[in-house]
Symmetry: C2
Subunit: 353 residues, 2 copies
């Protein structure tokens, strides 16, 4: 795994793609789509429309929990992994964690005034969104490193928890935590009800996602695998030990880093994997390379009305967040992965609809 | 966490301390101690004698599972961590994994003949135990790196599994896997029966311990935290992906590396921690620094007749494996950790007794 600054895989354009949109913070509440109705069908997956995607999930579970099935999987081996951004919740117009990091800059600069006149902090503090959008990748690393390290683990957890409880998404004017996809929450429950251990395997920061994963997804901290920095054990003046977050990358949990992270943190190959971008490709390949029934699913963002549309469904360029390229689409088709159309497969997208 | 070769914290003298003993491979079966009787008391902990250690475990569990207790712990927060070598199973005369690495050298040299005339492999292949005992720390790293990396994850798992199923401890002439301490197996079950999630947090190799942890301790791979190297994702000629074990240290899970590893892999502070050496000191400190009831226990090896005696109980020098120094003993007393006397607290030590 690479050893550079945290979150190197977040593409600069991806990180900044949404910045231009942020001034429009007070857009009216999104009108609930006519397709969002009270669930009336589907048993464990009421927010799913009948179709190939829903059927693939049900068929997989049936095949692996039925003792007489040739593809039966012992309960202790039932591991399912989920990418987060764009797979479990909204990743547009910007990764939630990047919003957090940018919004933390003033607090960091207050504690470290020497940063105020140093780039890239000066630019971020200026509030000039056009200038911020032009920051280099190297500058962004500096921002991530400064806002995600240098404090104790307890301090970070308290800060991130406070932020996630109050920050709101500009489009829906609701907490980010309400922007989890209801159909995916149902998949998580459905799998857990069938003895699957559900994991998040995210390119986002492991510590950040752990702050809210239990509340939002019912996934405990130890089942969140993400991009992770090191910590350093030390003692306070009172002799009490604590851990400090260091600006040192241990796991870059993107692309090939996802199966590598799965091996490090879980130690066995998943039976089911859900993603939505090229960053999830290797995780799905690795899952699919195991024997027996393996569920590989990709969420396609093709619903501009209820969420966003990007990737091959729209012809948008590949550099956007959650890149779902034509090549990925082709690999999915060739290897029998199932593509989930948000527009067609999901009866509703959010719990609040 | 440090970035050197794997397992740097294994002290050279510690690694080699037992080598001199190994020629005596065919010692007669150890005579079962008179103290090893069929368990007749103790409910969940039948192999424990009544006393302060057993009572500390019971009091801790009662205090944390009783909803009306001021120290009640929600089931999802119940994390207990256990060192392995010397805490859950025998670590004398040599760490089991080091035996494995030394015994793997001929197979590695067969595949890589160029190593046959290169030190330290030449010395290991000579079988000259006196010369092996004089190998430098740097040489030992080379042996660990060569035998624990360079193969696929699947190959390593298969090799280690085969070895652990057949290799026997020189003193008891039984598989190493039978040398788990019965009283500790009972603690693991007792805690799990009270909704505690049990983890191994070992200085040994994470991948190695994961091979047998489920079978020996009932602990699944994802609940084994250990010294871990990186892996590299790649594709075979058939296009199938696989992970190769690399000679690159990601986590040195010893000393301060234990709480750092706990944060990385579990993400929350344990409520109970069991160790037996200075390598476990920070893990016990970190556990003890949390609020409410916290169980901190150290296994003292003071039973030369039934197992081994080393540490302050015997006046043996500090450089032995599983160093339990006078300083650690003093810290335990000062901070209210409980010392388990194998001689006095354990009615029997092994299941086969």
């Amino acid at each position: 795994m690479r050893r550079t600054a945290p979150c190197p895989d977040m593409d600069r354009r991806a990180l900044l793609a949404g910045l231009a949109l942020l001034p429009a913070l007070s857009v009216p509440l999104f009108t609930v789509s006519a397709a969002a109705q009270t669930a009336t069908s589907g048993g464990s997956l009421p927010s799913w429309n009948d179709g190939a995607a829903k059927q693939a999930i049900i068929d997989f579970v049936r095949a692996t929990i039925n003792r007489s099935s040739p593809n039966y999987v012992f309960p202790e081996d039932r591991i399912a992994v989920f990418d987060q951004d764009g797979t479990l919740w909204v990743e547009h117009p910007m990764y939630t964690q990047v919003v957090y990091c940018l919004e933390r800059v003033p607090a960091v600069a207050a504690k470290r005034p020497e940063l105020r006149n140093v780039e890239p902090f000066k630019t971020v503090l200026s509030g000039n969104r056009e200038a911020i959008a032009k920051l280099s990748m190297r500058d962004l690393y500096k921002i991530l490193a400064a806002t995600l390290s240098g404090m104790t683990v307890d301090e970070f957890n308290a800060e991130a928890k406070k932020w996630i409880e109050t920050a709101k998404h500009p489009r829906w004017n609701r907490p980010y935590t309400e922007l989890a996809y209801q159909p995916m929450l149902e998949v998580l429950s459905y799998l857990r009800n069938n003895a699957y251990k559900t994991y998040i395997v995210t390119g986002g920061g492991q510590d950040f996602v752990r702050v809210y994963a239990e509340k939002v997804y019912g996934i405990p901290p130890e089942q969140v695998v993400g991009t992770a920095g090191g910590t350093k054990y030390g003692y306070g003046q009172d002799g009490k030990p604590f851990l400090t977050k260091e600006p040192k990358l241990i796991l870059n949990d993107n692309n090939a880093g996802k199966p590598e992270g799965i091996h490090l943190m879980i130690g066995r190959r998943p039976y089911a994997a859900f993603g939505n971008s090229t960053g999830d490709r290797q995780m799905l390949e690795y899952t699919g390379a195991g024997a027996g029934a393996r569920l590989k699913m990709l969420v396609l963002h093709d619903d501009a009305a209820r969420e966003y549309a990007y990737g091959p469904a729209t012809g948008l360029p590949d550099s956007k967040v959650g890149t779902f390229t034509q090549a990925l689409y082709d690999e999915a088709k060739k290897d029998g992965w199932t593509v989930i159309s948000m527009k067609n497969d999901w009866r509703r997208i959010f719990a609040f609809e």
